[in-house]
Amino acid sequence: MTISLFIEQIINGLIIGSMYALVGSGIALIYGTMRVLNLAHGEFYMLGGYLVFLLVVTCGVPAYLAIPIALLAAFLLGALIQRITIHYLLQREGWAFSTIAVTLGLSIFLQNSALLLFGENVQSVPYYVTGIVEFAGIRIPMQRLLILGVAILTIAVMTYVLKATRLGWAIRATSQDRDAAAVVGIPASRIYLITFGIAAALGAIAAAMMAPIYAITPWSGLPILFKGFVVVILGGLGSFPGAIVGGLLLGVVEAVGVQLTSTEWRDVIAFALMIAVIWVRPWGLFGSKS
């Protein structure tokens, strides 16, 4: 194994990890603002993938148009789902369990709706860009660099939104102290709605970028959901920056793990890492104890 191949593995890990980060950050945002564990998050990813597939492959819309449309659709779907289910449950006693249960039901429902609508065929989308970048023995296709670029852009935009916009302040304020936010005039229920939509859209971005290299099937949400869970546990449940770092870390750990053992043990490594982290630092590797 040469150094350059090792570096290539790390870069590959970071690229895939950046997608885990997007999915995980959606889970983290939802948990951070409304303390809901969204088991249907994988389905946002899956539906995002199908939307892009429908637009790009079936309708022939160029990718740069298709992806924003898919994002918008995912946003609306996420917001709708929040409004008709979570919104009501949050006002009930014992909502922590009933929200988990309802998202579980939604997950199965959406999975099988996709199955009815799109069939069980494994779908994928052609590369958005072609060509390969090669330097010092490292080969990386443009498509993968594009993924990394989009991930960086998305994270930058999200960071900007959270740090520097009215909406972002409202989201951060609501997640830190719901009452204090209400007192300064932030309507929590609308923020919840928007946060759910944004989280769904983050899943859809990941799906759109992964569509050319990962399969889209009605079941493709589940493995990515599990990855998202590992990410948020690593980063500290509810922390956006934690999820980003957790995602990248998981990507690299998996890449190195495949190198050292074999692909079949990759997910075991991920879950074992997660359980170890929960055992030692339940608040996550990067979160703070409180």
């Binding site: 009215r166 302040w169 007192v183 932030i186």
Partner: protein, 239 residues
Amino acid sequence: MAEAPMLQVENLNVLYGDFQILWDVSMTVGAKEVVAVLGPNGSGKSTVLKAIMGLTPVRSGKIIFEGEDLTKVPTHEMVARGISMVLERRRLFGAMTVRENILLGAYHRSVNKDIASRLEWVESLFPILAERRDQIAGRMSGGEQQMVAIARSLMSRPRLLLMDEPYLGLAPKIVSQIAGIIQRINQEGISVVFNEQNVHLSFGVSHRGYLLESGRMMLTGTGEEMIHSDVIRRVYLGV
């Protein structure tokens, strides 16, 4: 009274589940008045303020502000009606900077204009906050945090400011500083309702007071009237 007071609270009953906190509580606040809500702990002082702000659901009773019934108005609409609140123990957005915390006070669309002049006004009241603007709010001292919390609540230029235990947990020197700030705020034409356990401290800045015991209104009057009342000694000291 010639005209209706600014704020009228009528026969408020508040329950947490089955646990009744307030029993038929009524009070009024006039324009440009500072009113203290007194009582030992557990008497329901905080709940009165929270109920006015809509943070605690009201079982029965009415809250009328400037002639409008606010009983059913959600908390996040209160700033638009001209009421703002400083929560107990500051409740800052601890991971955000001082500046972010203060600017969030002008979040609501109805007050989200002339931000610069609002900020200038608030920072003129609290010069120290202008210096500390980029500091993370959660890492400041209690007194500084209280100033941030008050500054935040003033950004909406309220006509009525509710302050829940503004002195709680602060060193005596800081307490007198905060008392001075309450007077400054009042001088700006803002009515203030705050609660405090210590009778002396309360009347240092307030025009009038209300005394609560176990969720019931026991007494009202000016500081002078109340301090010499036996009721207050009985409520506080049991004698």
